[in-house]
């Protein structure tokens, strides 16, 4: 203790050791992202489909709404069709490839917007419940239970029956219904992060609640949020397809993959490709998004473990 004042200087690290630094958390994350095969495959497929959806007017060979009663039910090129309609035409003579390309817009739009709306609602509720606890938590938990007791398809059916089916209605219904998983996951993550001492340190410094939520808690639960976003996107896309198939979602003639399956189902025994092509694309998109979600979970979970 006597040599105290010089101690601060000598306590400095060995200068030889100073140059050795580990990678930053960001560098580690990117390294794991590029090393994860499932995540990369999913991301590439989703990326390609997104580009196709954005560039639809440039890529589509025909107008997706243009009917031609003379060119109905043309088979795709691999079943003996012509390159005029590479994936054939539907029962109204509309180019199948063009409808598929425009359908990607509907699916991705619904996936992104519905996940964004429900993500906003669910995250706000979950973070508030996890951070404040007590009555806020009791109310949020009750709302989650109420929501989980409502079957999505039945509620959507009732809403569409009242308001009529349209893209906007479907997006709103899904956005207002799919927040349950966000709320559950964000609540649990917030409860966990709230226990960390850096939150207590920020409180002891005098940081305001919004500041703590935004700068101390949100960055540390963002990885869980991203995973839920991807899973709920896939969920919303599948639900839209299901609602459209039942005639409750996007209304004709809007090109939607679910609607295309629905319109093709009468001819399924004779022309199975009418159902298989949109079904396969839907399958590929949902699989890719789920691969991305699983990959993101793996990539971020290993960070929490270290």
């Amino acid at each position: 203790m006597a040599e105290s004042m010089t101690n601060t200087a000598t306590d400095k690290l060995d200068p030889l050791l100073e140059e050795i630094t580990g990678p930053t958390p960001g560098q580690l994350l990117w390294r794991r992202v590029f090393g994860h095969r499932g995540l990369m495959i999913g991301a590439v497929v989703v990326g390609i489909l997104t580009v196709i959806a954005i560039l639809a007017p440039l890529l589509a060979p025909h107008d997706p709404y243009a009917q031609s009663l003379l060119a109905r039910m043309k088979p795709p090129v691999f079943l003996g069709g012509t390159w005029e309609h590479p994936l054939g035409t539907d029962h109204l003579g509309r180019d199948y490839l063009s409808r598929l390309i425009y359908g990607a817009r509907v699916s991705l739009l619904i996936g992104v917007v519905a996940a964004a709306i429900s993500g906003l609602i669910g995250t706000a509720m979950g973070v508030a419940a996890g951070y404040f606890g007590g009555r806020v938590d009791a109310v949020v938990t009750f709302l989650i239970n109420v929501r989980l007791a409502m079957p999505v398809v039945l509620v959507a059916l009732a809403v569409v029956a009242i308001l009529g089916g349209s893209l906007t209605v479907v997006i709103c219904v899904l956005g207002l219904l799919l927040w349950d998983r966000f709320a559950v996951v964000m609540r649990a993550s917030t409860l966990q992060v709230r226990q960390r001492e850096y939150v207590a340190a920020a409180e002891a410094i005098g940081a305001s609640v919004p500041r703590i939520l935004l700068t101390e808690i949100m960055p540390n639960i963002a990885n869980n949020l991203i995973v839920v976003v991807t899973l709920e996107m896939a969920h919303a896309i599948l639900l839209e397809a299901a609602l459209s198939f039942l005639g409750l979602g996007v209304q004709p003639p809007t090109p939607s993959w679910g609607l295309m399956v629905s319109e093709g189902k009468n001819m399924m025994l004779f022309e199975p490709w009418l159902v298989l092509i949109p079904g396969a694309v839907l399958f590929a998109l949902v699989l890719a998004i789920n691969l991305m979600g699983d990959g993101l979970r793996d990539v971020t979970a290993s960070e929490n473990r270290s």
């Binding site: 101690n7 400095k12 100073e18 630094t21 580990g22 410094i205 005098g206 940081a207 540390n220």
Partner: protein, 334 residues
Amino acid sequence: MLDRAGAAHPTLEIRNVTKTYSVKQGLMAKPKPLTALRDVSLSLRKGEVLGLVGESGCGKSTLAKILLGLEAPTEGEVLVDGQALGSHDRLALARRIQPIFQDPYSSLNPRKSIADIVSLPLRIHGIGDAASQKQAVRDMLDVVGLPARVMNSYPSQMSGGQRQRVAIARALIIKPEVVICDEPTSALDVSVQSQILNLLGDLRREFGLTYLFISHNLAVVEHLATRVAVMYLGRIVEEAEAGDLFDAPAHPYTQALLKSVLTPEPGLGVPDTQLGMAYPNPIDPPSGCAFHPRCPKAGPVCSATAPVPVPMREGHVECHLFDPKSPLYEDTSR
């Protein structure tokens, strides 16, 4: 309570503080009260280092949280400069009292750079512009013995000792008067512990700090503390000047704690504290003196009535052995 000469008001004081939590056991069971602190009074005078020792679960950290204003006491009051904690401005209070936490792996936000972490207090309190804040961080890192190079690092790139230095820098950058150290070395390697303790000792002299030093390790407390309070099951059972307490511990629990300190000599094994029984369940504390089931000197009165604090030396002790009104008093040859 106990009269003490000295400053008009202790910097930080708690009076008759009780803190109860309700604990749910099982789905249908009624929540039971867990009394973490029972009628505790303690004062922290300017410039001193008050060591607070006790086993895990005796209420040390609860006391720290109450002093920091992170939790409200169920009963009793917390006074800062003789005025209620609640009457002080939250930011002004934060500038005077700062914590250093136990686990440097949990006390630094893993998503922020060291510069961000250390400058946060300056940004929240709006002290200086970006350039002067950066310079202040650089100076503070130098004071705690870290090279300026670490400013752009993240906590995951640092060792436990380095992280604790960062946590100390964050606590001291707004120049507080009181630092509440909640087991600041227990998560560190033994060799690093001494470095951090020396650093805390140096900083205290350099900045004239007052410490409340919480630990379960008596050796650590002996190294730094000027006064020691011993806690058992939510009560302060003995309080004395550090020299007195380590030379002649009065309370049987303090004696047992001192015996439990590991000797550097190999082959002696774990010392026998003669405490035997495990720590009691705080939901269901023993009757009378909470320590009586483990006390080697307990008499019949100990399980019947709770002892009252008896002034002794520069502090107090709470044990029937030292209470002149207690039947056990004659038994000891003091």
